[in-house]
């Protein structure tokens, strides 16, 4: 009741004083009214990003980002529903409102940004399209794929990148594409194809764990692209984009400042600098400007940790995949991730 009153008051205030610069987002409002956040899942497992564990729970980097966003908006990391979607269904599902946001290893492309009527958040991950081939073929780069069969996931940017690459290099080949990651994986492992075009991090994850003998597979040197991966949202709700961007920013800033899920309360009690104080809501400003609680970032970090923790848990050293952070490190550690400035 109180919530509704305040919401009403805010709405009334914005009518009277439209110059007030509080980000009001219809999507955020809708999520609050509903009490749950609707995120995208996968039809099966996309290892490291969206996967189903033995207890039938969703986990992965993208799922953790969804949980972070849920905590920021609703204060509870579990107040979300993961809607299983195939690659082909993700944009229609977003447009129809089946999900609020797509956080699903989705590359930022011009077509999606314009014709599909989407808008993208800050990129939170960078990965290039590469090929993984069976080791017994004895090849190290794509020129060895002459006459070979390539598997790829249907409806993805990788599908077009790979097709474009072969068109440029004039390599004779056959292409087979599948609707889900699981089908693609089992087809490649069954030797339906000589090589498998995929997203670099995903290939590395597969090679590290999904395959009994990692040495039996090589990731070819050629890098087709480096794609910025970002969350996709419906156009026309700038407030929601702001919210998502600042959730990602807060995770990065927390890592920069060394705030982890373990020490967040301690840091909040004795903030080492004004930036941390503002981030954790000790000083006001973080919440009000986004139309949320001041302590959202603190709760979020306590629930899911900073970006580094999320990475390590799902892809890095605390995961079975043990991927190097590479490009996906903070700029100060040789990566390309950086946060906008929290003033």
């Amino acid at each position: 009741m109180l919530k509704r009153l305040t919401a009403g008051a805010v709405a009334a205030a914005s009518l009277v004083a439209p110059q007030m610069a509080v980000a009001q987002s219809a999507t955020v409002q809708q999520i609050m009214d509903r009490g749950t956040m609707l995120c995208s899942g996968h039809n099966g497992s996309y290892f490291g990003f969206v996967e189903v564990n033995d207890k039938n729970e969703w986990k992965g980097l993208d799922i953790d980002l969804c949980r972070a966003l849920t905590t920021a908006i609703l204060g509870d990391p579990d107040a979300n529903q993961i809607v299983p979607l195939s690659w082909a269904q993700r944009f229609p599902a977003l447009q129809s409102g089946d999900v609020d946001i797509i956080i699903k290893a989705t590359g930022w492309t011009m077509g999606r940004d314009t014709e599909l009527g989407l808008q993208f958040s800050l990129p939170y991950f960078f990965g290039g399209t590469q090929f993984m081939a069976h080791g017994d073929l004895g090849i190290t780069d794509t020129s060895g794929l002459e006459g070979g069969t390539i598997c790829v996931e249907a409806g993805t940017t990788i599908e077009r990148l790979a097709a474009n690459y072969f068109e440029t290099t004039q390599l004779d080949h056959d292409m087979v594409s599948y609707e889900s990651a699981a089908e693609l994986r089992s087809a490649y492992l069954a030797n339906r194809c000589d090589a498998f075009a995929g997203w670099g991090p995903n290939l590395a994850v597969l090679r590290a764990t999904e395959i009994d003998d990692p040495d039996a597979h090589v990731i070819l040197e050629d890098q087709l692209s480096s794609e910025p991966i970002a969350a996709a949202m419906r156009q026309g709700d700038e407030g929601f984009v702001d919210t998502v961007n600042w959730v990602i920013a807060a995770l990065l800033i927390a890592e920069e400042e060394g705030i982890t899920s373990a020490n967040v309360e301690e840091m909040a009690a004795t903030p080492p600098n004004p930036k941390v104080a503002r981030l954790l809501g000790v000083e006001p400003g973080m919440g009000e400007r986004l139309g949320m609680r001041d302590t959202w970032a603190r709760e979020m970090i306590a629930a899911v940790g900073n970006f580094g923790e999320i990475y390590d848990r799902n892809l890095g050293k605390d995961s079975p995949y043990n991927l190097d952070r590479g490009l996906n490190n903070l700029w100060s550690h040789g990566g390309v991730l950086y946060a906008p400035i929290l003033d």
Partner: protein, 379 residues
């Protein structure tokens, strides 16, 4: 007490009200849907219209009967999908009909072991969902290993996890498609004409098609190559011959296994309805089993077999949509992929639906024609 006149008037009025209500509601629902779609498209800033059909796709897919490249326009790519659907559909219609008649006849046999074996077949393949059978079979097939581990049949045909490599006539793909179409035209002409007998017509059709194909290969083959092209392992794959991708093979086998179990039941039902007296009359005339089957039982049974058989053929065409589960580029697969690559959901779904309506009406017309042709022969 109302008079009959009044009652009639009242009933008439009620009929009028109900019918106009249906029209009004339909118009309102359609209008509401269209205006909602317009509103949603503007709100979501989505592009609508059919302009995208002229744009290049930029992606590749597993199977095509005709030349293709990633620069093809969407319209052409959808057409290729349609060709693939029709191709698989026709092949399956033919194979299921042949197998269905075979198994249905076995099921009708007096010989207990024959009937039992056919019964086992029908009970296994009819009672498991088609899509499960297709996925299962596909998984088994692709685990057969790469081209280097291919099974060899007398060194002229090979089966591997990539596909079936068969020796073929030395003609270009386009030539092969034109030959197929020509053969189809001859077939329809021969079976359609009332002058030739059905069995003889089929014989002439098959013979003429083979002769034509060999002639075409003789004339158009590349300099210095034989009439037949035999597959041979070269690098990562087989070259030469006809290659049937494993996806296509999985589709054809699974639809055939499933569909023929259904057709077998239709055929058995039809054969059962043939009066015993007729069969006995045939035996009295000294006809052997084969003649009784082909001259008495089948022609009599066809009249009750054809209508459900036509429905089964339509089902076969619709069943090609499982292609998406095994990575075969049928029309549904191409449409879904076009949707995710171009985002033109409404337009593409509309095209898909209209195409399937057209296919089904054509089959229905063909079945009616076939029924009429066979019925006329009886009298």
């Amino acid at each position: 007490m109302a008079t009959a006149e009044e009652l009639r008037a009242k009933a008439k009025q009620r009929r009028l009200i109900i019918q106009s209500a249906i029209i009004t509601i339909t118009v309102l629902v359609v209008w509401g849907a269209v205006s909602n779609a317009q509103y949603n498209l503007t709100r979501l800033n989505m592009t609508s219209g059919f302009a995208f059909l002229d744009r290049g796709t930029g992606w590749d897919y597993s199977f095509s009967l005709v030349e293709r490249s990633i620069n093809d326009r969407y319209s052409y790519t959808l057409f290729v999908g349609l060709l693939n659907t029709l191709f698989v559909g026709f092949i399956c219609i033919i194979t299921t009909t042949i197998f269905g008649f075979l198994i249905g006849t076995m099921r009708d046999a007096r010989h207990p072991a024959v009937a039992f074996a056919a019964n086992v077949y029908v009970q296994i393949f009819r009672n498991i969902p088609l899509i499960l059978q297709a996925i299962f079979l596909y998984a088994v097939l692709i685990h057969m290993g790469g081209p280097r581990q291919a099974m060899s049949f007398a060194d002229i045909a090979y089966l591997s996890g990539r596909g079936l490599m068969l020796p073929g006539l030395n003609v270009s793909p386009t030539m092969a498609v034109s030959l197929l179409l020509l053969s189809l035209a001859i077939g329809v002409g021969l079976i359609g004409s009332k002058k030739t007998k059905l069995w003889r017509g089929i014989g002439i059709w098959v013979g003429a098609s083979v002769v034509l194909a060999v002639l075409a290969a003789l004339v158009t083959r590349p300099e210095g190559e034989g009439v037949m092209s035999i597959p041979a392992l070269q690098g990562l794959r087989f070259t030469g011959g006809v290659s049937v991708p494993i996806e296509l093979l999985a589709m054809i086998i699974s639809i055939t296994l499933y569909g023929s179990a259904y057709i077998a039941e239709i055929v058995r039902g039809g054969l059962k309805q043939v009066p015993k007296g007729l069969v006995e009359a045939g035996q009295a005339l000294g006809l052997n089993h084969m003649s009784i089957w082909s001259r008495i039982k089948v022609p009599m049974a066809l009249r009750s077999i054809i209508p459900p058989l036509g429905n089964q053929w339509i089902f076969m065409m619709k069943a090609t949509t499982i292609g998406i589960a095994v990575g075969f580029s049928d029309l549904f697969y191409i449409t879904v992929n076009s949707i995710s690559q171009s985002g033109q959901t409404l337009e593409l779904i509309l095209i898909l639906m209209l195409t399937f309506l057209a296919i089904n009406y054509s089959i229905a017309i063909f079945t009616n024609w076939l029924n009429a042709r066979l019925a006329l022969k009886e009298h």
